[in-house]
Symmetry: C2
Subunit: 222 residues, 2 copies
């Protein structure tokens, strides 16, 4: 596994504004990718932009995206010279005394790269990466994937060597002239929370909730 | 205010697969747009796709996106023949007995359209739409916007007449051969939850939390 270039290391990913929000840390990059679950994947189709939400998983310095082999969009993905993948985590609303100074606390990753089709003989491993990225430990507990299922899936990888990481946690900083006029300011924290698992049927209700599911929920409960 | 075409009414937005997930309801479209807060906006820059997260607000059959007039990307937006705006709400993980049959419950909107620069004389109204879309009632409580602040902001609108709405809430439906082999299946509900507001400073700590902020938190608390 090679070490990716630090986020923000190319011309395209150098932030032109608000550079105090840029992070050059690979651990920030990995942490944002590993905690979140939906990527917005952008590509060009007939000259026009298209953005679709997809599940993803990271392993080392690659991100994997999967879809059905029946999907026109999935088949289109690896024919693109470049895709742009955007992952955003909203953590709070910053409510300033003016709407102008209000904003959001967020962490975001934008990845630029070429989507490479994963070869048949590496497909099952790559699909397992995505499943275990969503719910760590899940693959070992589930019914193993069949070759027919792998064949029905397209999976692509994108290298993490051109990325932009932004972290916005700036506190309210209202100008002097807005102070002491009776306007309130503060932060509304937001969290993505998992609730207790709901068994699908009688068989599942009679089984213990699997460890991977319990760990996932524990990590995201408040 | 004109009535938008129902979602999914154009060729481009007709879903080629999993059509049971498509919604043709304008109230679904509006509900998803009004509840969520971050849009992933895709456009083409030098022939390559770019996807950036942005705050947005809906009013009638238009969506508004705003940014700083110092932002290169914002200045680029209205010169595009088309943009693609994707908004996704993740509501649960569907954990089936196999990873192949697992998936997500989500609601998603994809909007195709031309970004139109909002004229100077309508800018303040449009900016207020975005602020009130995020936290309804906020504009009336905040320090009013100045002309200088409006001048420092770019805001564009996109018509909601070419949209695709997908709602995935399909329950676990494992094949017979996966049953009664000891594998668990179920749903992990996910929610975006607001926590109690944190006043920014002593002045704010001495003031009541504004009604708009209390309403926002109450609507998103569990």
């Amino acid at each position: 596994m090679s070490t990716p270039k630090p986020p923000g290391s190319s011309d395209k990913t150098t932030l032109k504004r608000l550079s105090y929000k840029a992070s050059g840390s690979t651990s920030d990059l990995y942490d944002i990718l590993d905690l979140n679950m939906v990527a917005h994947v952008g590509f060009v189709i007939d000259g026009a932009p298209m953005v679709i939400p997809m599940a993803y998983g990271r392993s080392g310095d690659k991100i994997y995206l999967h879809g059905s082999s029946g999907s026109r969009l999935m088949r289109h993905l690896d024919s693109q010279p470049q895709v742009c993948i955007s992952i955003t985590e909203l953590n709070a609303l910053k409510v300033s005394r003016s709407t102008f100074n209000s904003g959001m606390h967020y962490r975001s990753v934008v990845i630029f790269g070429k989507a490479e089709l994963v070869a048949e003989d590496q497909k099952m491993q790559a699909l397992d990466i995505v499943s275990d990225a969503l719910i760590p430990g899940r693959v070992a507990e589930a019914r193993p994937m069949t070759k027919k299922e792998a064949a029905a899936t397209i999976i692509v990888s994108v290298d993490l060597n051109e990325t932009s990481v932004k972290i916005a946690t700036n506190e309210v900083d209202d100008p002097e002239e807005d102070m002491n006029r009776g306007f309130w300011a503060g932060i509304i924290p937001l969290a993505s929370v998992a609730q207790p698992a709901v068994p699908a049927d009688e068989e599942s209700a009679g089984l213990p909730v699997p460890q991977s599911v319990r760990d996932f929920i524990a990590k995201r409960s408040r």
